[in-house]
Assembly symmetry: C2
Homo-oligomer: 192 residues x 2
C-alpha cells in the first residue's frame, strides 16, 4: 500500500493554520496574500495558488476572510477530530513537559509508555491513532509491533527511519543536526 500523495501546498497547511490562528487572536478580520506571504516567508503567488481551493474565503479587491479561511483549513487538517496519541520511550521525568508540548492541536487523549516495561508487547496492544516514538533499542521489533497494533500514523524521532505502510514522519535527530551543520558550511562558503 502506498501512502497518499501530499502536494507542496498541502504541506504548508499547518503553517497557514498557525499563522491564521494568531491573526484571529489579534482580532484581524481580513488578510491579503502579500501580508500572509510575508508572515510565511513565501511569495504572494504561492499563497494564492495554495488557497485557490478555499474559494469561499477570498474576495477580489478585498483579501481573505481570516475566520472563514481558518475554519476551512482547520476542517481539512482535522484539528477538531480529537485523535488519541501514545508517547513511547519517554523519560518519566519528561512526560509532563511533553504533554504540554503536544497539547491543543487536535490530540484529545494522551498516554505514555515508558521505556523499561516490556515495551514491545505493550506497543502491539496499542489502541490509539498516533504513536510518537522517542527511543527504542530494536528497530525491527518496534516496527513489527507497530504493524500489529492498529495505529494509523507514526511520528518517529529515533536515530533511524521506519518503513511502514501507514503515514510516518521520520525525524532522526542526527539527520537534522547534520543538515544544519551542512547549511552552516554552505553559508560560510557563500560569504567568502
Amino acid at each position: 500500500m502506498k501512502t497518499a500523495y501530499i502536494s507542496a501546498g498541502a504541506k504548508r497547511l499547518p503553517r497557514y493554520f498557525r499563522t491564521l490562528r494568531e491573526c484571529l487572536m489579534n482580532g484581524e478580520i481580513k488578510i491579503s496574500s502579500s501580508v500572509l506571504a510575508k508572515k510565511l516567508d513565501i511569495t504572494p503567488s504561492q499563497v494564492r495558488a495554495d488557497l485557490n481551493r478555499y474559494s469561499g474565503a477570498g474576495l477580489q479587491g478585498y483579501g481573505y476572510n481570516v475566520k472563514t479561511l481558518y475554519t476551512e483549513i482547520s476542517r481539512d487538517l482535522g484539528v477538531g477530530d480529537g485523535m488519541s496519541a501514545v508517547i513511547i520511550g519517554a523519560e518519566p521525568s519528561n512526560a509532563p513537559h511533553l504533554a504540554t508540548w503536544l497539547e491543543g492541536r487536535g490530540i484529545s487523549d494522551m498516554r505514555f509508555i515508558l521505556f523499561d516495561e516490556g515495551i514491545y508487547s505493550k506497543v502491539e496492544k496499542l489502541d490509539c491513532d498516533i504513536a510518537l516514538i522517542l527511543y527504542c533499542d530494536d528497530k525491527e521489533k518496534m516496527q513489527s509491533a507497530l504493524r500489529q497494533s492498529g495505529v494509523k500514523g507514526v511520528w518517529n524521532m529515533t536515530q533511524s527511519d521506519f518503513d511502514l505502510d501507514i503515514p510516518t514522519v521520520n525525524l532522526p535527530v542526527g539527520d537534522i543536526l547534520s543538515a544544519l551543520m551542512y547549511e552552516i558550511k554552505q553559508n560560510e562558503k557563500g560569504e567568502k
Copy 2:
C-alpha cells in the same frame, strides 16, 4: 542576507551518510544504486543523480565503494568539524537524555541553559556554533538575543517559526502533528 540554496539531493545527504555508516559497520565493501535506493526509499536514478558529484566512488559495472563514498559525504557534511552546541530551555531532568540523543554526529561540545535562569541575557552572550531551542516564552526576545550572540545556526523546536539571517531549522511540534493527522485523513479517504 539570504541563506544558501540547498538542492533536493543535498538535503538527502544526511540519510546517505547514516545508511552508508550502517553498511560500513556491516563490513560491506561495495553497494549498487539499486540497493542503496531501496534502503533510502527512493529510485536508483535519484541515487545516481545525487551521487554524480562524488566521482571517485562510483565505478561502472561494479557499484559504489562504500568507504570512499562515506568519507566524501562525511567531509561535505562537516561531520568531523567538531561544532559546539547549546541546548536552551531543556527540563533539567531531561538534559542527560538529550545529550545522548545528540551525541556522535559532529558535536564536540555540548552545554545546557535551563529555562529559569535569566535565559535571554545568557543567550546573548552565547559562544557556540549551534543553538537548539526547546522552549521559550518570548519569541521576539529570543530572536534578538540569538542575533546578538554569534551562533551560526539554530534548531528551533518551539511552537512558532524563527526568522533569522542564519541557517535555521524550524520544527514546530504542533505543525508536525497537524501534518501527520492530515496525512492520516487523506490516507483513510484514499482507502475508501
